[in-house]
């Protein structure tokens, strides 16, 4: 997801619980409460509740159901603004998917980069060229409207993504070079790509959550966008625009992924997602107890929350491509000079950007791939460092001499570059930080901050030297978006066209051989850095926060989507 695609600036970001590495104290608490619950079930209290709720009690799941009924309660989550639709295939907002992933389950979940766990698919196989994906589906799964989940529902969901009338959002990009879906039998489905597309598994997340075909057909697009129907552990109850979305427990839920810790319906009776756009207010509601879990805590409050035992800050690094500068190799004569581009690599103070713009909460970056991404090459960390002397030396050697005002010149031409940005607070702050460090080595940066449509028309007319980019994405194939020649009129804002790199990018996407992919992506990272068409600035990290009484929340590989199925709130 590109930085200038998003409606709200922080739409794509989330947080991560310290599910594995959490504090010992909290782990003890959750163990304790479970023991207490087991005791209650043994006394028959749990069984009575189960009988009243009328939940079928299959032998194996009995314990889980009893626990669920005894747990109950409501979790109130404070999140960012939502899209104007709750249709997973139409929305462009991560904040909306954070809700919908509890309602419309996808085929697979990805709890850590590159690790896939069955969700609605029981198992899968992928052809070696990454073109044909065959999924065996789980049996006995029902949508919230009572209709059965089967291969037809998968085909219906995938087909509606590419149907023009759906006006699909992010899901359309995620489905890649989709060709068609074949229903092999009721429980087997084959998704076929036009060309090899290794990122499909990682992309089968909430945006490609399976929807009920009968509900979607009956309601039509506009209505379904307000009443989504899936197979998830929570069902949609109400959406009060700009205020909150309420989900209730699906009492019939009996098909949890192996990813989760319990069976049967979810513990929570109700999930309320409050929309609280202002980060400081969101954090305030966590402190006052109005919410128990928040996405994107206020950066200024993180230290205080960490110091307070009543709260836990959940920090998680994102995969994909972090904040980078793309240097336009077809721009002005100045930026076309590789010495100038390399001087920028040496001359930008990444830690300075991190400190002044992000309160030091992100991580200085040296590769166009963020650290958790498959194929991230640690060797890139040795290619450049912040070294103004080295930058000046590179410029001196190339004949760029300081002029009277400190700005370098060569052949009567000033070393002045046009940095085109969208006029948003954060983007301006980052651009100014870059501008300040490059001024020190004698490069003049003219920041041109514009409205979005004006920004886009200048980009499409190729009237810029430098552009920002940021993509959070689960697969290194994000490099194709940034550096493949076919994307020169899209997000390849460096307008970088090297046939050899194109071929490496294509080969890396068209195989499921992980070792081969990693080797190719390492070569590509080193190549684009030595050509100095990309200047990595910071890797992004998401910061969620919760109250100590919330336990067993976990987060996906994108560091964005939080699973609420196992969550309990201690009272």
């Amino acid at each position: 997801m590109a930085q200038d695609r998003q409606g709200s600036p922080a739409s794509r970001s989330g947080g991560a619980p310290q599910a594995e590495g959490g504090s010992g104290g909290r782990a003890d608490v959750s163990r304790l409460s479970r023991r207490r619950l087991l005791a209650a079930a043994a006394l028959g209290a749990g069984a009575a509740v189960v009988a009243r709720a009328g939940v079928p009690l299959p032998g194996v799941c009995g314990l889980g159901v009893a626990e669920a009924a005894a747990a109950g309660g409501t979790l109130t989550v404070g999140g960012l603004d939502l899209d104007d639709t709750l249709d997973p295939q139409v929305t462009n907002f991560d904040s909306t998917i954070r809700i919908l992933l509890n309602v419309c389950e996808p085929l697979v979940w990805e709890p850590a980069p590159g690790r896939f766990v069955p969700a609605l698919a029981e198992s899968w196989s992928i052809s070696p060229d990454a073109k044909v994906y065959t999924f065996k589906l789980r049996h006995g799964v029902r949508f919230h409207d009572g209709t059965p989940f089967n291969a037809d529902a998968v085909k219906f969901t995938m087909d509606r993504v590419v149907a023009p009338e759906t006006k699909a959002g992010q899901s359309h990009d995620q489905l890649g070079p989709y060709d068609h879906t074949e229903v092999v039998d009721d429980a087997t489905v084959r998704i076929v790509m036009k060309e090899g597309y290794a990122p499909l598994l990682t992309n089968l997340n909430g945006y490609l959550g399976i929807v009920s075909p009968s509900a979607a057909k009956k309601m039509g697009l506009a209505d379904f966008a307000r009443h989504p129907v899936g197979t998830g552990p929570f069902m949609f109850k109400e959406w009060v625009a700009k205020d909150h979305v309420t989900l209730v427990r699906n009492p019939d839920y009996a098909w949890p992924s192996a990813l989760f810790k319990h069976k049967g319906p979810a513990y929570l009776d109700q999930l309320v997602f409050k929309i609280i756009p202002d980060a400081s207010v969101r954090t305030g509601t966590l402190k006052s107890g109005e919410t128990q879990y928040i996405n994107d805590a206020d950066p200024l409050e993180i230290a205080a929350l960490r110091a307070d035992k009543r709260f836990t800050v959940i920090e998680r690094a994102q995969p994909g491509s972090g904040w980078v500068l793309l240097l336009n190799v077809t721009g002005s004569p100045q930026i076309r000079d590789i010495a100038v581009r390399r001087a920028i690599e040496w001359g930008v103070d990444r830690e300075g950007v991190n400190k002044t713009v992000f309160n030091g909460l992100m991580k200085p970056a040296w590769s166009p791939l963020m650290r958790p991404t498959l194929g991230y090459d640690p060797a890139t960390e040795k290619m450049y460092r912040y070294d103004p002397a080295r930058a000046k030396q590179a410029l001196d050697e190339a004949g760029w001499r300081p002029g009277a005002d400190g700005i370098r010149e060569k052949g009567g031409q000033k070393l002045s570059l046009n940095f085109l940005i969208i006029g948003r607070t954060r983007d301006k702050a980052m651009a100014e930080s870059v501008q300040a460090s490059l001024r020190d080595v004698g490069i003049d940066i003219q920041i041109n901050a514009l409205e979005r449509a004006a920004f886009r028309s200048l980009v499409s007319q190729n009237k810029y030297d430098i552009n920002f980019m940021w993509f959070s994405y689960g697969d290194p194939d994000v490099l194709r978006t940034l550096f493949h020649s076919s994307n020169v009129n899209a997000f390849n804002r460096a307008r970088y066209q090297v046939p050899q790199v194109d071929r490496m990018l294509e080969d890396a996407a068209a195989t499921i051989d992980r070792a081969k992919r990693v080797a190719l992506y390492r070569q590509i990272q080193q190549r684009v850095l030595s050509d100095a068409v990309v200047v990595p600035l910071v890797d992004t990290i998401t910061y969620n926060a919760k109250r100590a009484e919330v336990s067993a929340d976990s987060i996906d590989a994108l560091a964005s989507y939080v699973w609420m199925y196992d969550v309990q709130v201690r009272r």
Partner: protein, 307 residues
């Protein structure tokens, strides 16, 4: 009286037409190609752009486009939102009650506070009470809404825990945002009431009324206040515009649904029909309120005549 109302109402017609022209032109006044706003993020070829331009009717002469737009408006059709495909009218009607509630509560609070402070300051002219009241008023005028909102939240929600910080609901959800929103307007009104009252209290007819033996309270209420109110009513109409604008900030901070936030989110989502719809409705509300203000003059001041 009816004739006056009818005339004033007629005067609003050209204003409304002007508003519709401006909201219509908004799309074309924004820098960049409107097709880029509608088409979303995917890069496209010239042919694709032309197809979208044709599909949206943007390739027709401006006048024809406006005719079409105005025709739909007259039928109460504000178009469909780009993201949700939902009629804009439905989205607006959904949040309008919350904004009306907030704005009216803030207006009532601002009026009550403004009158009380202003009258007290005028009657206690040149005493500590006067200074204190005007001090409060200056603070109110100077403090930006987002700041007073956050202070109120910090104190009453996050520290004392008396009132909920976010969302819409009962009276308890309304108190903080209405107060935050009312502060600026009440300060403006207080200063106006004070100076108005001070001016009127020096008039000969006040002295006469007092000399006739009327009580001070009665003189203040019937003779002084009523005469001091005319500019205050004008200001109330203007303040409503400020309140509608301030609601954008208040609604965001207090996470309340409302027209202001709908408009801001629509702008952020580049959902143009929704932006046009919200701007149009806000402008129409503003015009209608000022019509009410004109009518209120006549009710308060029998000297105001029509025609």
């Amino acid at each position: 009286m009816l004739r006056y109302i009818g005339e004033r109402a007629l005067h609003t017609v050209p204003v409304l037409v002007g508003i519709s022209i401006i909201t219509f032109l908004m799309l074309h006044l924004v820098p960049g190609d409107p097709v880029l706003l509608f088409a979303g993020d995917k890069p496209m070829t010239e042919e694709q752009a032309a197809a979208i331009r044709h599909q949206l009717g943007l390739d027709r002469p401006l006048l024809v486009q406006y005719e079409d737009y105005a025709g739909h408006l007259l039928r109460g059709d504000l178009g469909r939102a780009l993201r949700s495909q939902r009629p804009v009218r439905d989205s607006i009607l959904e949040v309008l009650p919350a904004t009306v509630q907030l704005t009216l509560a803030a207006l009532a609070l601002a009026t009550a506070l403004g009158l009380a402070l202003g009258i007290a300051a005028a009657l206690a002219h040149r005493t500590w009470l006067d200074t204190a009241a005007m001090g409060v008023a200056i603070l109110g005028v100077s403090m930006p809404v987002f700041y007073s909102s956050l202070l109120l939240l910090l104190f009453f929600s996050f520290t004392l825990g008396w009132l909920p910080a976010t969302g819409e609901g009962g009276l308890d959800h309304l108190i903080l945002p209405a107060t935050a929103l009312a502060l600026v307007s009440s300060a403006v009104l207080a200063r106006l009431v004070r100076s108005g009252m001070l001016g009127v209290l020096r008039q000969d007819y006040i002295v006469t009324a007092r000399a006739k033996g009327l009580s001070r309270a009665l003189v203040v209420r019937r003779h002084a206040l009523r005469n001091a109110l005319i500019p205050v009513i004008t200001m109330l109409g203007l303040q409503l515009g400020a309140l509608l604008g301030g609601a954008v900030v208040t609604e965001t901070i207090f996470s309340r649904p409302g027209l202001g936030r709908l408009a801001v989110d629509a702008i952020l989502n580049r959902d143009f029909p929704l932006v046009q719809g919200t701007v149009l409705v806000a402008a129409v509300v503003y015009v209608l309120v000022n019509l009410l203000v004109d009518i209120a003059y006549a009710a308060v001041d029998p000297r105001i005549h029509y025609g």
